[in-house]
Amino acid sequence: MAIRLLDVTAYTTFDFIEGHAFGPDWRDESAAVVDVDRPKESPGTVRLQLEFDGSDLEHVEPHADSLTLSPDQARGLAAELERYAANAEAGKDVPRGRGR
């Protein structure tokens, strides 16, 4: 059996997130691990990792995905998450950019 590749501890950002992988004509629902950290082997970067570890994955090989973000990209992502979180709670979009 495929084992979870990411090491999940109390320090892991999220040990359970619902998600799905999808293709042109398929969709696999799965639990996922999401983790953000600062990889010691790539100083100055932020790492965002995602792994679906459900037992019902039919269309994807066991694997984890890892994104290497610059600090600016990480802040940009955080800002977008904050903005959409506020939107989700408000139930409407808060305009961004020039017209704001």
Binding site: M1, V8, T9, Y11, F16, E18, A31, K40, D53
Partner: protein
């Protein structure tokens, strides 16, 4: 570049921390500046003082230390009295009440719910009978383990206790080596049962013999770089070095110094000794050890005795002892009696009673095993039956059920910051359910179920027949405590780590899953096969298919906590931080 903990350690570590801790204790919890708490708590660990988890501010766990799990009745009684007087929290554990001790997997003892203000008095009481907490935590040499019945063991090939004593006194006691890159584990065993579990230690000495100058001499082979944490377990690798008992201390010291000097201090995820051995390789380590750290010629590895190992070796009972539980004869003709303490937890009252029994029926000596169990030593044959009739041995019986005998668990979310699930109480309930609901073939004496609350694996899930590690899952729309289930681990001639067969199993479905595994074992095994022996034939991939998590009438009342509350068994608000008398300290 050093990390934060390295900077703290460089600032102060080792023996120096003690004075500071006493100073804080005298002035009280609030004297520790809030912004300095993480730093001081990190340093306190060297002295065995661990701040408990979030929500339990101002309460501490204390880990004791010893040599090879050995203590006198007087020492254990003092520990029990300390537990009775000081290990009392603001709330009881629903299963164990208040005031208890935990036996650990490194032959030691932990106490919980202590107040910092009480630590000096506790130290005074413990140290007056020769019990210390020094070097039991943090980045240092942990309790040095061995065969708990060293010197009193029919299976002993070579004497190890004098080496263990010297390592404890001179190596672990050396303040110059207090600040290691990371925690470091040492084992030395001269017995042929494999009970020190050398293959999961940073350095392990195992019994061996070799022809030296035309004469066969007994001594030890050396293995390095074993450990089970972070889902990156390693068996200690053969260094291909044989040492005589006379040189054993110097070789262990040499490797400790080598790791102290050259182990990475920049990356805590990669600096355990097992990764050090990955990076350097045994050839380089052996060469460097020879060139720079020992001043005698190292012999190449001798003949080991691993084939004889029976401890958690997956062999049938007739092959020899799989643990120390039960009544066993010593070479002197006396007996030792191994009690079974499920999940390692014993009340203060029972602890004191155990000390009394050891003195009344034996020599007073008590020894602790790596399976969280105590042994009463040196019982005359004529006294064994009367000892077995004592009420304490009814509770913690030397003749336990198959499941109770095999159960071990780490601390879990009850007190531990990094655990993902509760462990000890849950496994206690699971063992009870398994005992009454799952049939096991009569020629099977134990199925080892080890439960760790997280991947640090302090509960040794990786070396179990059935290993459990904490995780989380969703069930009926709620996030619940869940377990990953693995099978097929164990020690012995060919140590194996579990392979995972089911992930994120909601905690209340785990007993059902275990029942399906044991059911398949009972149905498909050949007569005489142990669980691990059967797995080797049946195959782990086939086990994936037969492992069926399912709800049963097992009830798991704490599965929705998922570490959200300050104490998994309380629905009240946390009173912490509190005064020494458990009165909440006002934030005004």
């Amino acid at each position: 570049m050093s990390n934060k903990k390295e900077a703290w350690k460089e600032g102060m570590y080792g023996d120096e921390v003690r004075e500071k801790l006493i100073e804080f204790a005298e002035k009280g919890w609030e004297s520790i500046p809030e912004e300095e708490r993480d730093m001081w708590f990190s340093r306190f660990k060297f002295w065995g003082i661990f701040h408990q988890r979030d929500g339990q501010e101002s309460y501490f766990m204390m880990r004791l230390t010893n040599v090879n799990g050995q203590m006198t009745g007087e020492q254990l009684r003092a520990i029990g009295e300390v537990a009775r007087e000081y290990a009392t929290g603001p709330v009881d554990n629903p299963e164990f009440g208040e005031s208890w001790i935990d036996f650990t997997t490194r032959q030691s003892i932990q106490l919980h719910w202590l107040k910092l203000e009480d630590v000096p008095a506790i130290w005074e009481k413990l140290e007056s009978v020769g019990v210390t907490t020094r070097s039991s935590g943090g980045d240092t040499m942990r309790n040095i383990v061995g065969c708990p019945v060293a010197g009193k063991d029919e299976a002993e090939l070579v004497e190890s206790q004098p080496i263990l004593d010297r390592l404890h006194e001179n190596l672990r006691g050396d303040d110059e080596l207090a600040n290691m890159p990371r925690k470091f584990n040492i084992s030395v065993t001269g017995c042929r049962e494999g009970c020190a579990q050398d293959s999961i230690n940073g350095i392990g000495l195992e019994p061996a013999e070799k022809e030296v100058d035309g004469e066969v001499v007994t001594g030890f082979n050396v293995r390095v770089g074993g450990g089970t944490g972070s889902r990156q377990p390693r068996h200690a690798r053969n260094l291909d070095v044989f040492v005589t008992p006379e040189n054993a201390y110097d070789v262990v010291r040499g490797f400790v110094e080598l790791y102290h000097d050259h182990g990475r201090r920049d990356n805590r995820q990669k600096n355990r000794s097992r990764f050090f051995v990955d990076e350097r390789g045994t050839d380089e380590i052996r060469d460097r050890l020879q060139e720079e750290y020992v001043d005698f010629e190292l012999h190449r590895g001798g003949r080991n005795f691993r084939e004889e190992y029976t401890y958690n070796a997956g062999k049938p009972p007739e092959a020899g002892k799989t643990d120390h539980v039960g009544v066993h004869e010593q070479p002197s003709g006396d007996y030792y009696v191994g009690l079974n303490v499920p999940v390692g937890r014993m009340t203060a009252r029972e602890t004191i009673a155990l000390a009394d029994l050891a003195e009344a029926y034996g020599s007073g000596e008590i020894r602790l095993t790596r399976r969280q169990n105590p042994l009463i030593m040196d019982v005359e044959e004529s006294a064994v039956d009367a000892l077995l009739d004592e009420p304490l041995l009814d509770t913690h019986t030397p003749a336990p059920s198959v499941f109770t005998r095999g159960g071990m668990a780490c601390t879990g979310t009850e007190f531990c910051d990094i655990a993902l699930t509760e462990t000890k109480l849950r496994l206690t309930r699971m063992l009870r359910w398994l005992n009454t609901n799952v049939d096991v073939p009569t020629d099977v004496d134990t199925i080892k179920i080890h439960y760790s609350g997280c991947t640090a694996d302090c509960g040794h899930a990786y070396t179990a027949d059935i290993g459990l590690q904490g995780m989380r899952a969703q069930k009926d729309g709620d996030i619940v405590e869940a377990l990953d289930i693995g099978v097929g681990g164990g020690m012995g001639p060919n140590p194996e780590f579990v392979e995972w067969v089911s992930q994120r199993v909601p905690a209340d479905e785990v007993p059902g899953a275990i029942r399906s595994l044991v059911g398949a074992f009972a149905a498909h095994r050949e007569a005489g096969q142990t669980f691990r022996g059967w797995l080797e034939d049946f195959g782990v991939e086939s086990v994936v298919d037969v492992c069926e998590p399912a709800e049963t009438d097992y009830e798991d009342p704490y599965m929705y906590d998922a570490k959200q509350s300050w104490y998994p068994f309380s629905t009240n608000e946390s009173p912490a931080p509190t005064t020494v008398d458990d009165v909440p300290i006002s934030s005004d």
